[in-house]
């Protein structure tokens, strides 16, 4: 019983993390049909920032990591993706792979291939015992952080004019522009929000590992992309739900598969993915409408 509860909390936390990462990808995809694989390198940038600045205090390090992530996200848009508005989603995805590998090499040159370590929020790495159930503080913190961010995002999208404009653009970019919503405004906004979410993902994953290398953000981005595709990447809620599902399932499998089989947990997850896509192909990346044209 207590083990079930414990694994449930861990799975919720893993789901929350991947849900946020998938949302970071889905927000941008909804507007410009870009499944940005280099979201992983935004996570890595946030993680490095946390590692290198943590000794200055969390109240400096965390805002700094958010700023770095947001700026890198905006820089990607300005320097690469804004020049490719007429490209198809497939071309954009491939360009983002290229950008991802490029940034990994940059990190390698700057910080070497070795992992950089620091005890980021090590208080959270402890576990507490509630009525005999041992629960990771970090898992609880992750779930709370995700709940907070999602509530904030929801309020922003439904209660503010800017949020509504983003929602409209994500639903139907062409019509949004036709009624006067500026393309550059909503695109910039989606990249900025994506950066904030990536910084949150960077925080929880860095606390968990305490060590960051050049490819730190890659595994989580692969899973998040898979989740976003399952959920229906062009819907904000779909990406979130899909990311959550993949994180939850992966974590549950890791806890409950026998030792010798748990090495194959990713294989089971991908089998699940194939199953979902066979039954629900509209979850696939590319929907009816073409790429955004300016």
């Amino acid at each position: 019983m207590s083990q079930l509860l414990q694994s449930l909390v861990d799975a919720l936390s893993a789901g929350a993390t991947l849900g946020l990462a998938a949302l970071a990808i889905g927000l941008v995809f909804g507007v410009i049909r870009l499944a940005n694989f280099a979201t992983g390198e935004i996570i890595t940038a946030g993680a490095y920032t946390l590692i290198f600045t943590w000794q200055l205090g969390w109240y400096i390090s965390i805002p700094f990591a958010i700023i770095v992530a947001v700026l890198l996200s905006l820089l990607m848009e300005l320097s690469v993706f804004s020049r490719m508005r007429a490209a198809t989603p497939a071309t954009l995805l491939i360009a983002s792979f290229g950008l991802s590998f490029l940034l990994q090499r940059v990190y390698e040159l700057a910080f070497t291939n070795n992992v950089q370590t620091a005890p980021v929020a090590s208080e959270l790495a402890q576990s507490i015992s509630i009525g005999g159930v041992r629960i990771q503080m970090l898992s609880v913190a992750t779930i709370l952080l995700a709940a907070l961010l999602l509530t904030g995002l929801q309020l922003f999208l439904t209660r503010t004019s800017l949020g509504l404009q983003l929602k409209a653009a994500a639903a139907d970019f062409k019509t949004a522009r036709l009624i006067g919503i500026p393309a550059s405004r909503v695109i910039g906004l989606s990249f900025a929000l994506s950066g904030i979410l990536a910084a949150a993902v960077a925080f929880v994953t860095t606390v968990q590992t305490g060590a960051v290398g050049p490819t730190f953000g890659v595994p989580i981005t692969i899973l998040a992309l898979v989740g976003a595709v399952i959920g229906g990447i062009d819907k904000i809620s779909g990406a979130l739900a899909g990311g959550f599902l993949v994180g939850f399932a992966t974590s549950m499998l890791a806890s409950w598969l026998p030792q010798d089989m748990s090495n194959f947990k990713d294989a089971y997850v991908f089998m699940l993915v194939i199953g979902v896509l066979l039954m629900r192909p509209q979850g696939l990346l590319i929907r009816g409408r073409g790429a955004v044209r300016t």
Binding site: S161, L164, K167, A171, R177, I179, G180, I181, R293
Partner: protein
């Protein structure tokens, strides 16, 4: 600016898709306070004309709004010059409420302070939108969605209102409601350009109607031509 300049003026407009011409140098005058029709069969180039005026697709030629050249502007800037398009198929934001759709229409306003008045006017023109203001737009009937799409465009307070097949897929009563509203809008002094496939009805309603065939204007008709069988046959079959 003389009053004669008020409205939309299109000179020698061309549109091509991958080198294949779709609109071959047409000229249109849509004066303030008039409704001008643009009819023609499927594929004639009607939507291409409207979308290119909005800057949503590239064009050749000149587009003047109230005498001012709007060359090279993207749709969001064209809206701020006083031109608004109610797109083919309505395209309301289905998951947002009626009120949020109208709010978004006001994003393109030149004069932000007029928002409350614009909303009041739109709700007076389309009372059903007031009744269903909190409802998801996707749950409205086709006719109600068309009213919402027009109302959303009006929230930007355009001088020129363009509509792409507003009667498409609507019941006869819903079509009547839409054209009654267009009559009011014309009476407010706006320039209205309405694209339709239903020739007879459009010719009778509009102050002038252009017939478009294969990207070229082949006829210009007056309301009284609506009863002229020869002219109608020519309009349909070129």
């Amino acid at each position: 600016m003389s009053n004669a300049d008020k409205g939309l003026s299109v000179v020698d407009l061309t549109v091509a898709y991958n080198g294949v011409p779709a609109v071959r140098g047409i000229s249109l005058e849509v004066p303030a306070g008039q409704a001008i029709g643009l009819i023609g069969p499927n594929g004639a180039g009607k939507s291409s004309t409207l979308l290119s005026i909005m800057g949503a697709i590239p064009r050749g030629g000149t587009v003047l709004v109230d005498g001012i050249d709007i060359a090279g502007l993207p749709p969001e800037k064209v809206v701020r010059k006083g031109v608004s398009l109610v797109p083919e198929g309505r395209h309301v934001f289905a998951e947002l409420t009626v009120m949020d759709n109208l709010r978004l229409g006001a994003v393109g306003r030149r004069d932000k302070s007029g928002y409350a008045e614009a909303l009041e006017n739109v709700l007076a023109l389309f009372p059903i939108l007031s009744e269903f203001s909190a409802r998801q737009a996707g749950l409205l009937s086709g006719g109600q969605q068309q009213q919402l799409a027009i109302g959303r465009s009006l929230m930007a307070d355009p001088d020129v209102l363009m509509l792409d097949e507003p009667s498409l897929g609507l019941s006869p009563t819903a079509v009547d409601a839409v054209f009654e509203a267009l009559d009011v809008i014309r009476g407010l002094g706006k320039a209205v350009l309405v694209v339709e496939q239903r020739a007879e009805f459009t010719i009778a309603f509009c102050d002038r109607t252009y017939v478009l065939h294969d990207g070229e204007i082949t006829l210009t008709l007056k309301p009284e031509d609506a009863n002229n069988v020869d002219v109608l046959t020519q309009a349909y079959f070129g």
